[in-house]
């Protein structure tokens, strides 16, 4: 839901990285997006379309690697993927968990020429 800020932020990072390499065009931006980050592909693509206008990234494709939410049970240490908003450990049924994956939100790589 906060894609406008996200797009502005990663576009600026991608443009800086490309400038360092003196690239003339950004072809692809590869993002890693945890499921808890609340980032919607469609919304990112929509904002990217107009925020990237008049930049060397205007024609770039965006690829997404989604990271599912993983929790670690503090009782039995089991790591599990919660289903349907259920935060109970499937092994010991306890409900004392740490979020260990799903918060990721970063640019992994960009492809330039």
């Amino acid at each position: 839901m906060h894609e406008q800020s996200i797009v502005a932020s990663f576009l600026s990072t991608a443009l800086k990285s490309a400038a360092k390499e003196k690239a003339s065009k950004i072809l692809k931006i590869c993002l890693v997006v945890g499921d808890l980050s609340g980032v919607e592909e469609e919304a990112v693509n929509f904002y990217f379309g107009f925020i990237s206008r008049n930049t060397i990234a205007a024609e770039a494709n965006i690829s997404y690697t989604h990271i599912p939410v993983e929790m670690r049970c503090r009782k039995c240490e089991m790591i599990f993927r919660p289903e349907k908003y259920d935060l109970h450990c499937p092994h010991c049924q306890e409900q004392q968990v740490d979020i260990v994956a799903g918060r990721e939100l970063y640019i992994d790589t960009i492809e330039v020429e």
């Binding site: 839901m1 990285s17 306890e94």
Partner: protein, 227 residues
């Protein structure tokens, strides 16, 4: 021309995190405590903040940074309390970010303030993602929203140091399971404190005020000595 793959590995929110750090250093220099209040729209942030200001404004110099998507309705309510209020209209953006807070800090006489309460935009997702530089993160979850919310928005409940269960005066009309709610919140966040309150009737506010006084005390003593 040949295609090159560049490894970036940069967190998308890192610029915001740096700005948040700068905000924190800035308020620390002025010995100001900053508290970020978050919730869904309509959970009762403005009413709680009003009560809190009325309770503490005689002993502590307070200010509010009011974040709203549009309008100055909340800021108008709060400015009647006779304290500095800075309105940030995010123009559609669903959260405050550190850069907006930097602008709000510019508008405040930090040397004459002990505590800044930030009322974030009503939202349980995005606000948890954007650090502002506040010392404390506090959230409200109102009884009508339901006890299942920690399961749906685990990040917010993990981030908040205090969870106020607001509007407990209407509890008889809703199936809000307080025990299940507390279990889910503390499962995600073992040190998170839960205060059931009604800012309307005043029920439960003493526990919140006691926490708030602790949260601001360490610094206000220094402030009173210095300023």
């Amino acid at each position: 021309m040949s295609v090159k793959v560049l490894t970036v590995k940069e967190d998308i929110l890192s610029v915001n995190d740096q700005n948040a750090k700068a905000n924190r250093e800035r308020v620390d220099r002025h010995r100001v405590v900053m508290i970020n209040v978050m919730s869904s729209p309509g959970a009762g942030k403005t009413t709680l903040i009003t009560q809190t200001i009325n309770k503490f404004k005689e002993q502590t110099r307070m200010a509010v940074v009011e974040g709203d998507v549009a309008s100055t309705i909340d800021a108008d309510r709060l400015s009647k309390l006779g304290i500095p209020v800075v309105q940030i209209n995010t123009a559609g953006t669903c959260h405050l970010d550190a850069n907006m807070i930097r602008g709000a800090l510019d508008a405040l006489a930090l040397g004459e303030i002990d505590v800044i309460i930030i009322e974030n935009v009503g939202n349980l997702i995005c606000t948890a993602e954007f650090a502002l530089g506040a010392h404390k993160k506090v959230m409200l979850l109102s009884v009508p929203e339901g006890d299942d919310k920690p399961h749906k928005y685990p990040l917010m409940f993990t981030e908040a140091e205090v969870v106020l269960v607001s509007k407990i005066d209407v509890k008889p009309y809703f199936d809000f399971d307080e025990a299940a709610f507390s279990k889910a919140v503390n499962g995600l966040n073992p040190s998170g404190k839960i205060f059931p309150v009604s800012a309307k009737t005043g029920e439960g506010l003493d526990a919140w005020f006691a926490w708030f006084e602790d949260a601001i005390a360490g610094k206000t003593e220094v402030v009173q000595g210095r300023k």
